[in-house]
């Protein structure tokens, strides 16, 4: 063991990475440099930084990737150094921990027991008979519970050992390993997952999404339809709930229906759909008529053209006003195949006429409403469970490291120069205050058997 560790110690790189000093330095550096990304808005266009910060500071921002600080080359390097530091410290510590863990705490002699941080010894003038010794042991047992025994130590005594929490030395590996597990989970999510968002109008279906990072199209393998979007408000006007009724379709078969709200997404085949935002666009229904025989109801949405096939006319919605003298009104754009176009205002209840070429038509506003588009955030992240596992290890490891002690209590009974010697001693890796109380309790129990003499 000595030889191998000295080979490592001769290596300056190993020495550099195995120091706690480096860990402290890296933690401080990460803390300080992380501030940058909270002061400068992240992931804006380069133009934005040039306009906001001027050409000089812009050059620094561009060089240091401060527009995306936490994915910049230097921040990732810091995290890499941090991980290396963690791994090397762990490896350096491992042989030491193994030695502690494998150590036989029953191979002790009275001399070493008397050098322990907690100790008490009794000297009994005469040699104790077996009954008295048994009563001492049972007093010890009553307080500590289970114990190990070595009937014949090197210096001719009987040794009893109560040992608890020896495994707690592994807590630090659980704690430090958890950080690496969380990093691993993040990497899995980065390389095997995707994120995207979509504005889905009511009644429409998607079967693929666009990856936000790469811009590539990812087929979902199924499709999702938004049946309805609904928004409700409190009396004071604050939004109460955003709700989308979604249906998952496999081919034409409806597989799952779920109403999603913020904080309650839809999960299907590892892909999650979150309620993220919404948009309302006006939609009007008009009745158009060429003669008494050909009339038709047309639905015209904002940002979309609607064709009236019989008359080869195209309609669009330019403006919509919910209330003009208490009635909805809409400005409609009309174009024909020859490229002639014009617009007119419609008030609900009033009929209007317009001409295109030789033909004249009648048009009236039948209905107007808001049509909703639900904003969905769509994500697949197979690494998220690895991250949660890491978090669990982090908490378990932390608890063990700081609150589970390795405690040893020894009781040695032996003879020296015609006297009986009883030694009680103990050692703990943490929480000395509680341990001292426990030791005092054992001491009192033994006193009651020995002190009477």
């Amino acid at each position: 063991m000595k030889a191998s560790s000295s080979i490592y110690q001769d290596n300056p790189i190993w020495r550099f990475f195995s120091s706690v000093r480096l860990a402290v330095f890296l933690l401080i550096t990460l803390a300080v440099t992380s501030i940058a990304g909270t002061l400068i808005p992240q992931r804006e266009s380069l133009q934005f930084y040039l306009e906001t910060y001027g050409p000089n500071f812009f050059r620094i921002i561009k060089f240091l990737h401060l527009y995306d600080t936490y994915h910049s080359w230097w921040y990732l390097t810091l995290l890499g150094l941090f991980s290396t530091n963690l791994i090397v410290c762990t490896l350096k510590r491992l042989p030491f921990t193994l030695r502690l863990f494998r150590k036989d705490n029953l191979s002790m002699d009275s001399g070493r027991l008397l050098r322990m941080p907690f100790k008490k010894d009794w000297e009994v003038k005469e040699e104790l008979d077996n009954d008295s010794i048994r009563s001492i042991i049972s007093a010890f047992k009553d307080v500590v519970g289970k114990f190990h025994e070595r009937p014949d130590t090197a210096d001719g005594g009987r040794l009893f050992l109560e040992e608890r929490g020896k495994w707690s030395y592994w807590g630090i590996y659980c704690l430090h390993g958890s950080i690496l597990i969380i990093f691993l989970g993040a990497l899995v999510g980065l390389f095997m997952g995707f994120k995207g968002s979509v504005m889905l109008p009511e009644g429409e279906t998607i079967d693929h999404i666009v990856n936000k990072q790469t811009g590539e199209q990812i087929p979902l393998g199924f499709s999702v339809r938004c049946d309805r979007f609904d928004i409700s408000f409190y009396d004071n006007g604050a939004p109460k709930e955003y709700r989308s009724d979604l249906t998952v379709l496999n081919g034409n078969k409806e597989v799952v229906r779920k109403s999603i709200v913020v904080n309650d997404p839809l999960k299907y085949r590892g892909i999650t759909f979150y309620q993220a935002s919404y948009r309302a666009i006006p939609e009007v229904t008009v009745r158009v008529a060429e003669s008494e025989s050909t009339q038709r109801l047309l639905t015209i949405s904002a940002f979309q053209k609607t064709l009236w096939p019989e008359a080869q006319l195209t309609f669009g919605l330019i403006q919509y006003l919910p209330s003009v003298h208490g009635r909805p009104a809409a400005q409609i754009w009309i174009g024909d195949r020859e490229g002639r176009e014009g617009s007119l205002w419609l008030l609900k209840g009033n009929k209007k006429e317009f001409k295109k070429g030789e033909n004249s038509y009648g048009i009236s506003l039948v209905n107007a409403r808001q049509r909703y588009l639900t904003g969905l955030q769509i994500k697949k992240d197979p690494g998220v469970w690895i991250v949660w596992l890491g978090c669990a290890f982090l908490i378990i490891g932390f608890t063990v490291v700081f609150w589970v002690p390795h405690r040893r209590v020894w009781l040695w009974i032996g003879r020296r120069e015609g006297k009986t010697i009883v030694i009680l001693s103990g050692q703990t890796s943490k929480n000395k205050l509680q341990f001292e109380k426990d030791i005092r309790e054992i001491e009192k129990a033994l006193d009651s058997r020995l002190g009477a003499r």
């Binding site: 909270t38 994120k195 994500k379 998220v384």
Partner: protein, 282 residues
């Protein structure tokens, strides 16, 4: 309604201000009886404040909103004060040193005074916005604030340490009744460990919640990043003990810097930076 939650909570503000004054008198004039009185007043304040918080919870149900009083800046300040007093009283009960109160209770008094007297802070019960409607709200806020409150106490201990360290050897006067540096160092360490556990749990519950609400467990939102910065500072304080020459005074400084970082995570991010956590500023 005379006995509404706001009645109890404004009463709490004055009680905590009084308690902090009593602890200071106890420290500066070294009157034992005043110390006992300070403890009684603080404990009484805690009972009244608890009543106020529970009443506010009940009132929110009566208004038809029905949510825990942890949803805006006013409520979070009240809860921060409550946690700080609770953490401090547990510590006082365990270590039997009332002088620490002079450095810990002012944080609670200031938080309550700020909540009650600042004109910008809306103290009406408001309905929950959709983003906050989650079972994770209580778990996230309670864990975070248990962390914040512990760090407030640890900061108080850090200040005490620096005071004591300067007046080394002086065992009489107002420095005399401050515990020894060794004791303070150990207490500070234990408090930071305790706070660190809760901060970590606060970050984790926040991540689990964010994963449900925003579709990502970590988005480098300023609030998240600042909580991580705070985490780094206290992680430094925990590791610094193993570096030669770092124990003691430097850890006391780290404890104070850590709390400044907590305060920035709490207030600075809300007021100075924009992000997903903006509901905390109303």
């Amino acid at each position: 309604m005379t006995f509404s939650s706001s009645y109890f909570l404004s009463l709490t503000t004055f009680i905590y201000l009084g308690a902090a004054a009593l602890y200071l008198i106890h420290w500066i004039f070294r009157v034992q009886k005043v110390g006992l009185l300070a403890t009684i007043v603080t404990a009484g304040g805690l009972v009244i404040q608890t009543t106020g918080i529970i009443l506010r919870w009940v009132e929110s149900y009566k208004l038809g909103y029905g949510h825990a009083p942890l949803s805006n800046l006013y409520e979070s300040l009240v809860f921060f004060a409550w946690m700080t007093v609770l953490v401090y009283l547990v510590m006082e009960w365990r270590v039997k040193r009332r002088v620490i109160g002079a450095f810990a209770t002012p944080f609670a008094s200031l938080a309550m005074a700020y909540a009650s007297f600042s004109p910008e802070i809306e103290d009406e019960i408001q309905p929950l916005i959709p983003a906050l409607k989650s079972n994770w709200l209580i778990a996230h806020v309670v864990t975070c604030f248990l962390g914040y409150a512990s760090f407030a106490v640890a900061c108080g201990l850090g200040i005490m340490y620096l005071f004591k360290n300067r007046s080394s050897g002086d065992s009489t006067g107002i420095m005399g009744i401050i515990p020894d540096c060794k004791v303070l160092d150990e207490l500070m360490h234990q408090t930071i460990i305790f706070g660190f556990l809760w901060l970590t749990l606060g970050i984790i519950t926040g991540a689990v919640w964010a994963n449900d609400a925003w579709g990502t467990y970590w988005s480098w939102d300023p609030k998240e990043t600042w909580s991580l910065i705070t985490w780094f500072v206290y992680a430094t304080a925990l590791h610094a003990r193993f570096v030669r020459g770092w124990a003691g005074r430097r850890i006391a400084y780290l404890s104070i810097i850590g709390f400044v970082s907590v305060m920035f995570t709490y207030f600075g991010v809300n007021f100075l930076l924009s992000g997903l956590h903006s509901y905390g500023s109303q």
